[in-house]
Each structure stands twice: as structure tokens, then as C-alpha cells.
């Protein structure tokens, strides 16, 4: 953690604080205020984009804890979102539970599913774990199709309008606020989880399993904890997504989403809370660019150019980041900050 010039830590609490200077407090406050006033002057279309970004941020924070901090690679995150989404959809639509109860239940259900599919991680790692989580994705979707009476199978499931304390959340603006509250909460909790004992254990497991176990970190317990926590985030995000669309279908949780969530982590920078947000925003903006540029390209070149543009651009951006900036946008951001911290002087004066 680089310190700002003129900021001195005099006790342990200051040393541990996330925001150490007035400038940082100001920047965060300004960002929050901006987030909460922007529905006043933004169009519905942009609000929709921001809402999907918010939902993805919640989900990717979970994946970041699981993959970025604990090193357990999962390409089944979208499947765990489906568990959360469908659980809360069923609770709302079939049992008539209120939204604010159904969402935590959905998150919990996804966490339990994560525990179940996290079990192989105790024996296997690396590529084998990737395969196990890919299998989890397909098995979860298959089970959802099989439970036709409960989930509506391939037809999907209509979800009633969500309300909290009598306030309807069906309007775009209200739902935007809800998602943003969740995104901010997810960011704060994710950033703090990795500073706890469990978080340090996750990092130890990621960096060297053998050494971690020798030092007394229980691999069994902490790997499953990482799966549980990561999938709780996924479940909450899935639930938010389902209630936003007010329809649950398996098409909302495709396999490729799981891949792109990992892609977002790579673009943003693994093992960093800010990186997760950078990655989501970057890839979602790329999505938007593709939807805008697609029709133009399709008219100019060939009809299939739009479809291939989406595939190629996503693949290329991940390839470019892997080769040229494997530490992601977060690292670039840190470099820019370091440069401007002393700008325009290139050397720091010692007082």
C-alpha cells in the first residue's frame, strides 16, 4: 500500500484503515454521491447498462475471492448464479415469500451448491478443478431443466414484482438504487473479507498450498469457505438478475458468462477489489460498443460480421491483456496514481 505524501500513520488503527487521507475520503464520497444522483439525469438505457454492471460487480467480487484470492479457479460461476436466481424466483413465485427474504435464501442456496461442487477442490487443483467447475455449470443447468414442475424447465418462470417495505422496485430507477446498494455492500464486504484471518489464509493457499498447510492453515476448511463465500455473492447476483428481468430462464445463465466473469477478473486484475470493478466496467463497455458497432459493421461488410465481432473482440481483449498486462487494469491504475502522486516532481523530497 503506497502512502500519500504528508500522510503519517501514528497508530495501528491508522495503519489498517482502508482510506487513509482526506482526499481518499473525499473521492469515495464523491463517487457514492455521483452513483446515487446519476439516475436524475441519465436515460433509461444507460441506467440499464449501469444496473447490469452493478449485478456483475456483485458476482465478480465473489469470483475474485474464490479465484483471485484463494486461487481456486471456477468456470461455473454463472451456474451458481442460476442456483441463487432460481431459488429466490421459486420462493417468490411459488411460495409468495417477500423479495427481501427470498434474496438471502437464494444466496445461501448458491453457497451450499458451491460447497457441494467445491468438494473436489480438496483433491484436485489447476486444470482439473477448472474441468470440475465446468461440469458443475452444465449439471446445474441440466438439473434446473429436469425440475420442470418447480422451475418451469426450458420455458422459464415468471417472477412477481419485487417490493421492499411497500416500495415497488419494478421501476428502472428504484431497481438501480437497489442494485447499487448491493454493489457497494458487496465491494465493502469483499474488501474486508480478504483482510480477515480467513482472507489471509486464502492468500496463503493461493500462493503455496503446501506451505500454507504446513503453517497450520486448514486447506479443507478454508477452500470450502472460499467456495461458500464466493458462491454466496454469485447467488445474490443471480437473484438480483432474475428479479430485475422478472423472469427466470436458463438463457440468463449461459456457460460463456462464466468464462467472461473470469475474463473480467483478468482484464481488471486478479486479487484486487478495485480490479474486479475495473474489469466488469471494461468488459461491459466493450459489450455496449459491440452492440453499437455490430449493426454498422453488418451493414458495411457482411451480416455475420456483427456476431463474429462480439466473439473476436472478447477473445482478443483477453489475449491482449494476458500477453501485455497480466496484472490487469488495476496495475495500470496504480502506476498512474504513483506517477501523479508526486507530479510534477519526479523525485520525492525527504523532509
Amino acid at each position: 500500500m503506497r502512502m500519500h505524501t504528508g500522510t503519517f500513520h501514528e497508530n495501528y488503527a491508522q495503519e489498517m484503515a482502508i482510506l487513509s487521507s482526506r482526499g481518499q475520503w473525499g473521492a469515495v464520497a464523491a463517487l457514492l454521491v455521483l452513483l446515487f444522483v446519476c439516475p436524475l439525469f441519465l436515460s433509461d438505457h444507460i441506467l440499464t447498462i449501469l444496473t447490469t454492471i452493478g449485478i456483475a460487480v456483485v458476482s465478480v467480487h465473489g469470483l475474485n475471492i474464490l479465484t483471485g484470492y484463494c486461487g481456486q479457479i471456477s468456470i461455473g460461476h454463472s451456474g451458481f448464479m442460476a442456483v441463487g436466481g432460481y431459488t429466490s424466483a421459486i420462493l417468490c413465485a411459488k411460495l409468495g415469500w417477500p423479495f427481501w427474504v427470498a434474496l438471502p435464501c437464494g444466496a445461501l442456496a448458491a453457497g451450499i451448491a458451491g460447497l457441494l461442487f467445491g468438494l473436489p477442490s480438496l483433491k484436485i487443483k489447476g486444470f482439473y478443478l477448472i474441468m470440475a467447475t465446468i461440469a458443475a455449470q452444465f449439471i446445474i443447468i441440466w438439473i434446473i431443466i429436469q425440475l420442470r414442475s418447480l422451475t418451469g424447465g426450458t420455458d422459464g418462470l415468471l417472477v412477481p414484482k419485487p417490493t421492499i417495505a411497500g416500495i415497488g422496485l419494478s421501476s428502472k430507477t428504484n431497481y438501480y438504487y437497489l442494485v447499487m446498494v448491493f454493489a457497494v455492500l458487496a465491494t465493502i464486504t469483499a474488501h474486508n473479507i480478504v483482510r480477515t484471518r480467513a482472507g489471509r489464509a486464502f492468500i496463503a493457499i493461493r500462493d503455496n498450498e503446501l506451505a500454507a498447510e504446513v503453517m497450520g492453515v486448514s486447506l479443507w476448511s478454508y477452500k470450502l469457505q472460499a467456495f461458500f463465500i464466493g458462491c454466496i455473492y454469485a447467488g445474490a447476483a443471480g437473484s438480483l438478475l432474475v428479479h430485475y428481468v422478472r423472469f427466470a430462464s436458463i438463457e440468463q445463465f449461459p456457460f460463456w458468462d462464466s468464462v467472461w466473469y473470469l475474463g473480467m477478473l483478468i482484464v481488471g486484475g486478479m486479487g484486487s477489489t478495485a480490479g474486479a470493478i475495473f474489469g466488469v466496467v471494461a468488459l461491459k463497455l466493450l459489450d455496449e460498443l459491440v452492440t453499437v458497432a455490430g449493426p454498422i459493421l453488418a451493414a458495411a461488410v457482411a451480416p455475420q460480421a456483427a456476431a463474429s465481432l462480439a466473439l473476436i473482440s472478447h477473445g482478443l481483449i483477453i489475449i491482449i491483456f494476458l500477453i501485455f498486462e497480466p496484472r490487469g487494469l488495476h496495475h495500470r491504475w496504480e502506476m498512474i496514481r504513483t506517477y501523479f502522486r508526486l507530479w510534477p516532481f519526479s523525485h520525492q523530497e525527504i523532509e
Binding site: 482439473y128 474441468m131 498450498e209
Partner: protein
């Protein structure tokens, strides 16, 4: 009984296809420790290349095959040099994400060049049909079998009697030793990618000749991973045996259980159930080398 045997034979056909894809995967993995998720997309490209050279270009079969192999060699070389070389020494996730990204780029190229359309070229390839009693053996299975056996025989010769083949086996054994005796590891990596892409493209042409080329060819690649895991990730023979086992199991299970399940589609997820079971109980597969690490 006829129903059961028919299922087994169809499963055999499917299994040979899986095995063919799995071979390419195993070669890359053995030589360079790279898990190539894009192997199924080599098959996809192969299917479309077969159509391109046979239908619009109107080449004879042998020329089309040679042309497609030439394209595959260039493709393999480019992929290794541009995408995988910079990632030597990077963690597993970076490499896997790279091959996933490669698969989307290849899928995107296929969409761009061939419009993601169904391209049929039935009757251009020789078809073989056989009947044993009441059971007809589909042409796919025979062709798959012949091609797999030919590929494996050629690879055996390559690995046993040629310099590059021996270098590849040595690299699979110990990279440091290989480098210390002056073998260029990068050449070996390039060779493994070339072989994998050629095998994939040949498989794609033959599959395309039977069932036509479309984007679904790539999906077979995902299922072939179950084969690879069942057979053991570093065993070529294991890939073939596991391919046949899995293809048969999948068809028999789907044939008997699908009528009982409301949603059906068991054949689609069956390989993934196998994958999870193998990973939990026998992570090194049937014929793979156990990687022992104790804490």
C-alpha cells in the same frame, strides 16, 4: 437386445470422434503442459475447411486434405508463436484463459468466414456402410475408427523413430534435462501445436463429410475433456479407450434413462457427471500417471 446393441454401436461412433479430439489435446498437454480448451474449435475449422476446399474450390479429396493440412500447420504455428510463447511460465489460469480466448477467436473467425451456417458436403467423401445382423454400423464410426487408428499409428512412428518425436517425448519427461542437452523446447512446443491442429482439422473434415459442418462441431471439444480425464490426461492410448467407453456409456444411459426423465437431454450432460466422478475418485484417470503430493 437389438436396441442395446444399436446403442452400443452408435456410442462407439461417438466415442471414436471423442477419442480423435482427445488425442490432439493429450499431445499438447504432454509436450508443453498446456490445457488446450480450443481443441474442439480445430475440429470446427477443419469441418469448414473441408467444405471450402471440396465445394467452392472443387478440389479432389486428396488435394483438399493436403490443402487443409497446410492451413492447419500454419494455424498451429501462428497460435503457438503468437499466443502461447509469451505465456511460458505463467500460471495455469492464464494459459487456460488464453486457450479459451483462442477458442472464441476461432469461433468468431468461423462465423465471419462461413457465416455460422450449416454446410453439407455429403457424398464427396467415401462412405462405408456395414451391417452385422440387424445392426447397421454408421459410416461415422468406421471412418472415425480408421482415421483414429491411422493417426495413432503415424504418431507412434513419429514418436519412436524421428528426431523431433523423440525430442517431444523427452520434453514430456523432463524439460530441464532436454534444454541442457541442447534441444530447443520452443521447436517441440510448435511441433505439438502443429500435430494437434492437424489431427483436429482431419477429424473435422471427416466429421463434416458425414454430418456436415456447423458450429456445433466445436461443442464436441468440451465433451472430449471428459474423455481425456477418464483416460488420464497424459495417455494417448487411454484417450482412445476412454473415448469408446464414454461414447457407449453415454448412449446406453441416454437410451434407457431419457424416457424416464421429463426434460431428457441426458446425453448432453452425461460426460460431465463422469467428469465429476472421475475427478473425485480417480483424478489421474484410468491410464494416467498419478501425481503424488502429500501434505
Amino acid at each position: 437386445m437389438t436396441f442395446f446393441l444399436q446403442l452400443v454401436v452408435t456410442g462407439f461412433a461417438q466415442g471414436m470422434v471423442y477419442a480423435l479430439i482427445a488425442i490432439g489435446f493429450v499431445i499438447i498437454l504432454k509436450c508443453s503442459d498446456v490445457f488446450n480448451i480450443a481443441q474442439g474449435h480445430f475440429v470446427l475449422i477443419g469441418g469448414y475447411l473441408g467444405w471450402t476446399f471440396l465445394v467452392p474450390f472443387g478440389l479432389p479429396i486428396w488435394a483438399a486434405l493436403l490443402a487443409a493440412i497446410a492451413v492447419a500447420i500454419i494455424m498451429g504455428l501462428l497460435i503457438e508463436r503468437l499466443m502461447l510463447r509469451p505465456l511460458v511460465g505463467q500460471p495455469v489460469l492464464a494459459i487456460v484463459m488464453m486457450t479459451i480466448a483462442l477458442s472464441t477467436v476461432l469461433g468468431g473467425l468461423a462465423t465471419l468466414l462461413w457465416g455460422a451456417e450449416y454446410k453439407a458436403y455429403h457424398g464427396l467423401l467415401p462412405t462405408i456402410t456395414m451391417k452385422i445382423g440387424e445392426i447397421s454400423i454408421p459410416s461415422e464410426s468406421l471412418i472415425g475408427l480408421i482415421v483414429s487408428i491411422t493417426c495413432v499409428a503415424l504418431l507412434m512412428i513419429l514418436f519412436r523413430y524421428t528426431k523431433i518425436g523423440l525430442a517431444m517425448r523427452a520434453t514430456a519427461e523432463d524439460l530441464q534435462v532436454v534444454q541442457s542437452v541442447g534441444i530447443k523446447a520452443t521447436t517441440v512446443y510448435a511441433a505439438s501445436w502443429i500435430i494437434a491442429s492437424v489431427v483436429g482439422v482431419i477429424g473435422g473434415i471427416l466429421l463434416g463429410g458425414v454430418s456436415g459442418a456447423n458450429m456445433d462441431l466445436a461443442l464436441i471439444g468440451l465433451k472430449a475433456f471428459a474423455v481425456v480425464l477418464l483416460g488420464g490426461v497424459n495417455s494417448i492410448g487411454g484417450a482412445i479407450v476412454a473415448g469408446i467407453i464414454l461414447g457407449m456409456l453415454e448412449n446406453v444411459a441416454a437410451g434407457y434413462l431419457d424416457p424416464l426423465l421429463p426434460g431428457g437431454g441426458l446425453a448432453q450432460v452425461f460426460p460431465f457427471f463422469v467428469m465429476i466422478i472421475v475427478l473425485v475418485f480417480r483424478p489421474h484417470g484410468l491410464f494416467g500417471l498419478a501425481h503424488i503430493e502429500r501434505v
